[in-house]
Amino acid sequence: MSYEVKLDAFSGPLDLLLHLIHRLEIDIYDIPMAELTAQYIDHIHAMKVLELNEASEYLVMAATLLAIKSRMLLPIHEGEMEEAEFEVEMEDPREELVNKLIEYKKYKEAAIELKELESDRSLVFTRPPSDLSSMVPDTQLALFDASVNVFDMIGALQKILRRKNLRKPLSTRVARQEISVKDQMFAVVDSLKVNGGKTAFSKLFPYEDKTTIIVTFLSILELMKRQVVSVEQQNNFEELYVILDKEAPEDELRTIDE
């Protein structure tokens, strides 16, 4: 059988075993070792990009499975065993593995519940505390609780990051939605017309924010490509001039898909 298996689809050999047990509809309390071992080994063959330190853990598990399988195949001859040995043999060779799988499964399921909580919580937003520092004497500002430790600093950083996430985009993203290259092509054409069909390149950028500057630049490139405008420069290091080559390019521009 050949199918792609991604390493990061499983968080370890126990996870892979649980996946196989589920997929093969195996009774976890009565694992057919030969089948499971074969499937497991197939899978780790298919996992091409095993990282070295994790590969060893998957291989150790493969060895464990093979050992259990072979112990189960050992014939038990009547009367060959001493009483004491019999006690040892009484243990199902699979028992330790089964216990491990069951214990691991508990936490894997708990992790799924955490995932749900994480996703519920991500729907709820809060705000930074108001800055009240102007209302107090300096001495009170850094009055740390005696129990403050380095982990509290990490907690403080997490808060900053959450807020930053909310803060940064409004200026960039809303601005980005505000103007499109197409809109800006019209704006460039308009300002060329106002200036008699020719203007200094730098005059076309009366903008403060980077996004608008970038969009304006892209719109000039697009206009050049469409031969609506051309750019000329008399000598090195002199000002670039943008010249409107078409008298009424608006109709053509209106047909552009954004």
């Binding site: 853990e57 009547e78 508990k106 936490y107 708990a110 709820v124 505390p129």
Partner: protein, 197 residues
């Protein structure tokens, strides 16, 4: 203090404290009110937020402190402000490690790795740097391994008031499992004894 005034003062304080939050006890001190009054006002405020359609905010108890938050139904609108809202979710491996720590704390790295059957130093490091777990002590014995536990940020991150609010581990299922194992072992032994006879 009349209850409307108390509610308005609580709203103002909650607003100012933002994601820092404030406890009911702190509110009693600041407002010179009884705990019962404060709790009644908090609960009435919450009802008011929840029942009013023009309110986009509500009251939540996170990690033991009261905070104003936006209502979950506002998420779509607010996410328009956020570049990539899902980029920061925890990986499956990190969540597994975190689940183990949350339910078995304090716990060492070796115990975690034993449970998962795989090295876990990287997820642990991620969780420490995300402020979700921290060192809470050292194990006895040689090596004095670091013991990990969850933080207040953990509660905040998962929207919990206290650690007790975590859903219970599937212990019930486990008990059944154990019974089944016992049953299995009995049958197994029977098979053997009959072999013997």
């Amino acid at each position: 203090m009349n209850s409307e005034l108390l509610m308005s003062k609580i709203e103002a304080l909650l607003f100012v404290m933002g994601d820092e939050g404030i406890t009911a006890k702190q509110l009693t001190q600041l407002l010179d009110a009884e705990l019962m009054e404060v709790e009644a006002a908090l609960s009435e405020l919450k009802t008011n937020y929840e029942q009013s359609n023009i309110r986009g905010i509500t009251l939540k108890n996170l990690a033991g402190t009261y905070q104003l938050t936006t209502k979950p139904t506002m998420a779509e609108t607010i996410k328009k402000l956020v570049e990539n809202p899902t980029s920061n979710v925890l990986s499956a491996a990190s969540l597994e490690v975190l689940a183990i720590i949350a339910y078995k704390q304090p716990i060492t790295r070796v115990e975690i790795e034993d449970l998962r059957g795989v090295k876990s130093d990287r997820p642990i490091q991620t969780l420490v740097s995300r402020g979700l777990i921290q060192e809470v002590g050292r194990a006895e014995g040689t090596g004095r391994a670091i013991l990990y536990g969850t933080t207040k940020e953990f509660l905040n991150y998962f929207g919990l008031q206290t650690i007790e609010e975590l859903p219970p581990l599937p212990e019930e299922a486990l008990k059944d499992d154990e019974q089944e194992t016992d049953l299995f072992m009995t049958k197994f032994q029977e098979a053997f004894s009959s072999d013997e006879n």
